[in-house]
């Protein structure tokens, strides 16, 4: 009998705690609630962690300056554990229990695709700081906005940088077929490069997780004419290996890629082989940055005791600032009005560039930074907006 009593008591206690924990936190109705689900554990943690720190910094600055419409803003943070099932439960918690008016979320397209249908149904605007697929708004609907440039823009800048700055009229393309991001990036690159008069001498592919690239490198060496550069649509883990193996094989031409390279690992793992690598990204964060970025770096360091890990810290910061600015311009804490205000954003000066949405297009026109590696250090090679952008 005691056995059953103990079990019943345990069950009762658990369910009470469960109800308390999930419902008992909507006491102060005063702050403006903005949902901030992030993959703080799991495989997207190295991007979403800095993004959350940046977002919190922005919220603290906004509240210190008196908040928005006379009310402070509150980020409602949940860890979504890089798991699509958790993302969908968290989405319903944010919408139904926390009653957030808007959401800032995620650095990868997969997670945005997972949360998309629910926020679209509830008609709550969402700004993604770091998911760069320009197809997201058309795949999900009119509530989804990007705070970053689309992959079509960064691929175009990469191609024009090769043509105009590196003076490379011939190129070679390597594509990682393992992710949506690298596949799209590669398609957009080809369109711009060939539109600008460049000629691809060959194309090759590999898959995320590959460790040896000897077959691909042998093909490049066997080309009758050496290409001017290699565009490698890769993630940082693979591109460091590609760079090392290329340099070992005696190929010292520049290697250009996208913001997938933007990680401390490029220099740490790539070492000397990283010389001559260039990548397009959201903002140059490092020694000799612009005063605006430097100010952000100092504030980030003061709040988190570390330097910003990558551009996603700045993107998280910008996305929250963009959201607060839109709420202010909407003049009311109302999801539909906030959505319209986001869409009408024009000339908002952010750390990662100026944000403007053209009518009906939820991907902002932003300038792209091209960062190069020289003498073991990163430097800002160029900052540009492309003259030709392929359709998403």
């Amino acid at each position: 009998m005691t056995n059953i009593n103990r079990r019943t008591a345990l069950g009762l206690g658990l369910s009470t705690a469960f109800v308390l924990a999930t419902t008992g936190r909507s006491l102060a109705a005063d702050p403006i609630k903005i949902g901030f689900p992030a993959n703080l554990t799991g495989n997207a943690a190295s991007l979403d962690g800095p993004m959350l720190n940046g977002g919190k910094l922005a919220a603290a600055e906004i509240n210190a300056a008196g908040g928005v419409l006379g009310r402070p803003i509150e980020l409602v943070v949940y860890d979504t554990k890089s798991d699509a099932t958790v993302i969908s439960t968290v989405a319903s918690q944010l919408i139904d229990s926390d009653k957030v008016v808007a959401i800032v979320a995620f650095s990868d397209s997969d997670s945005v695709l997972a949360i998309g249908p629910q926020i679209q149904k509830a008609q709550i605007p969402l700004i993604t700081p770091g998911a760069t697929s320009p197809k997201l708004p058309s795949q999900l609907g009119n509530e989804v906005f990007l705070a970053c440039f689309g992959d079509n823009v960064q691929a175009a800048v990469g191609a024009e940088f090769a043509l105009n700055n590196l003076k490379a009229k011939t190129g070679y393309l390597l594509t990682d077929l393992g992710t949506e991001y690298t596949t799209l990036l590669s398609d957009y690159f080809v369109k711009t490069y060939e539109h600008g008069g460049g000629k691809l001498l060959g194309k090759d592919t590999y898959k995320t997780g590959d460790k040896t690239f000897t077959a691909q490198i042998a093909k490049i060496k066997a080309l009758p004419e050496a290409p001017g550069f290699i565009y490698s649509a890769s993630l940082v883990d693979e591109v460091t290996l590609i760079l090392k193996q290329l340099r070992q094989a005696g190929i010292n031409i520049p290697v250009v890629g996208g913001d997938g390279y933007d990680s401390p690992l490029l220099l740490e793992v790539g070492g000397k082989a990283a010389e001559g690598a260039y990548f397009t990204t959201h903002s140059y964060i490092g020694a000799g940055a612009t005063p605006k970025v430097q100010k952000f770096m100092d504030a980030y360091k003061a709040a988190n005791k570390v330097d910003p890990e990558n551009a996603f810290a700045a993107l998280g910061y910008d996305a929250v600032k963009l959201m607060a600015d839109s709420i202010k311009r909407a003049g009311a804490v109302d999801s539909a009005k906030i959505r319209d205000a986001i869409a009408a954003t024009s000339g908002l000066a952010a750390v990662t560039g100026t944000i403007t949405y053209r009518p009906g297009i939820a991907v902002p026109d932003k300038s792209v930074s091209v960062i190069g590696v020289k003498d073991g250090k990163l430097f800002l090679a160029s900052e540009a907006a492309p003259s030709f952008v392929p359709e998403p």
Binding site: F18, L40, S97, P117
Partner: protein
């Protein structure tokens, strides 16, 4: 007999009431929690057939779930979506689109067939060997999903699956799963399964075919895994091969072991406990304030606490919460314990 029918009818009515009434009474959040619990119950029940009752400790179950999810996903995309998302799909697949139920049934039959093909050589193995071999199957499924990019978009997100999975669907399939497995496990065939599990040599000596028994259990389990996979695909809408891999395998096995390997109600209880506990911990880890004490957010703490609770349960209740018993409310004399008392086992 009549009492049993009445009880069955009451249980069914209750399930139907919850399934159809919940969405209008509860918030979407609680409906989703219920839905995920029911979905996981289908996964764990189908896993218990091989791992619990037949003694084939399979690590490849999630391979069937993944195969079912992808197949039903491909079948239920609209023709226009197929053209844009899967442009290289072979012509025999790209001209039609199936509704939810047929797609689910096809997925279940496909995974059952897959289980017969895979199980024919594998079910001859025992003990650790069958675990390692079925894990090999899981790895093969994952690699095929990543590389057959004409069908699956490779490692990229498979998206656009219609969000058809609702509470009545999942509860309906859960009721079917429970009913079929209950009839199966507590039938002469069920006794054959347990005989094969408990003493292979003695079972063979009295004429029970080890291979047939194991293969049947494996294939039926795979059928419900495929069905569950289809429900899961239509719940998420977008997923990728990594969704159906070791993390999910470990999650399901933890639920099964925790609830009790040789008990259907144990499997369900394991699912309910683990799901509620991880939801509770997920809310607690965000930090909270009681009076003057403020506990800061500790993201990731929920996984640690959950792991710790698993260790404690395994130390103090190594056979899981239910062990081999069933929760019968004294109405059914069908638990393994009563069988032992009657001298059947």
């Amino acid at each position: 007999m009549i009492a049993r029918l009445i009880i069955g009818a009451i249980v069914l009515a209750l399930l139907a009431g919850v399934a159809f009434g919940a969405p209008s009474l509860m918030s979407d959040y609680f409906v989703r929690i219920l839905l995920i619990i029911a979905l996981n119950a289908i996964f764990v029940l189908s896993l218990s057939l091989s791992n619990g009752f037949t003694g084939v400790f399979s690590l490849g179950h999630v391979g069937f779930i993944g195969a079912g999810a992808y197949l039903s996903g491909i079948l239920s995309l609209t023709v226009a979506q197929k053209a844009s998302l899967l442009p290289h799909l072979p012509t025999f697949l790209n001209w039609f689109s199936l509704p939810f139920l047929p797609a689910t049934l096809v997925a279940g039959c496909f995974t059952a067939l897959l289980a017969i093909i895979v199980g024919y050589p594998l079910m001859r193995l025992s003990g650790y060997f069958v675990s390692v071999a079925t894990m090999g199957f899981l790895i093969i499924v994952n690699v095929v999903l990543i590389n057959a990019s004409d069908f699956t978009r490779g490692a990229r997100t498979f998206t656009g699956v219609p969000l058809d999975t609702s509470l009545p669907w999942v509860f309906g399939w859960l009721a079917i799963t429970l009913f079929v497995l209950w009839r199966l496990v507590y039938s002469p065939f069920g006794r054959r399964m347990k005989a094969v599990r408990d003493d292979t040599i003695a079972a063979s000596a009295i004429g029970i075919s080890m291979l047939n028994t194991r293969l049947t259990a494996f294939a039926i389990g795979a059928f419900f895994a495929g069905v569950g996979g289809s429900l899961y695909a239509h719940y998420l809408g977008s997923f990728s091969p990594v969704t159906f891999y070791f993390a999910m395998t470990m999650n399901l096995i933890a639920m099964l072991v925790l609830g009790g390997m040789g008990s259907l109600s144990g499997a369900v209880i394991g699912v309910v406990c683990v799901s509620l506990l991880s939801e509770l911990l997920r809310s607690v880890e965000r930090g909270f304030t009681i009076g003057d004490i403020t506990v800061p957010a500790l993201f990731g703490a929920s996984q640690i606490v959950l792991g710790f609770i698993f260790i404690l349960i395994m130390i103090f209740r190594p056979k899981g919460i239910m062990g081999e018993r069933e929760l019968t409310f004294g109405l059914f004399k069908r638990s393994a314990k009563s069988e032992i008392k009657q001298g059947v086992l």
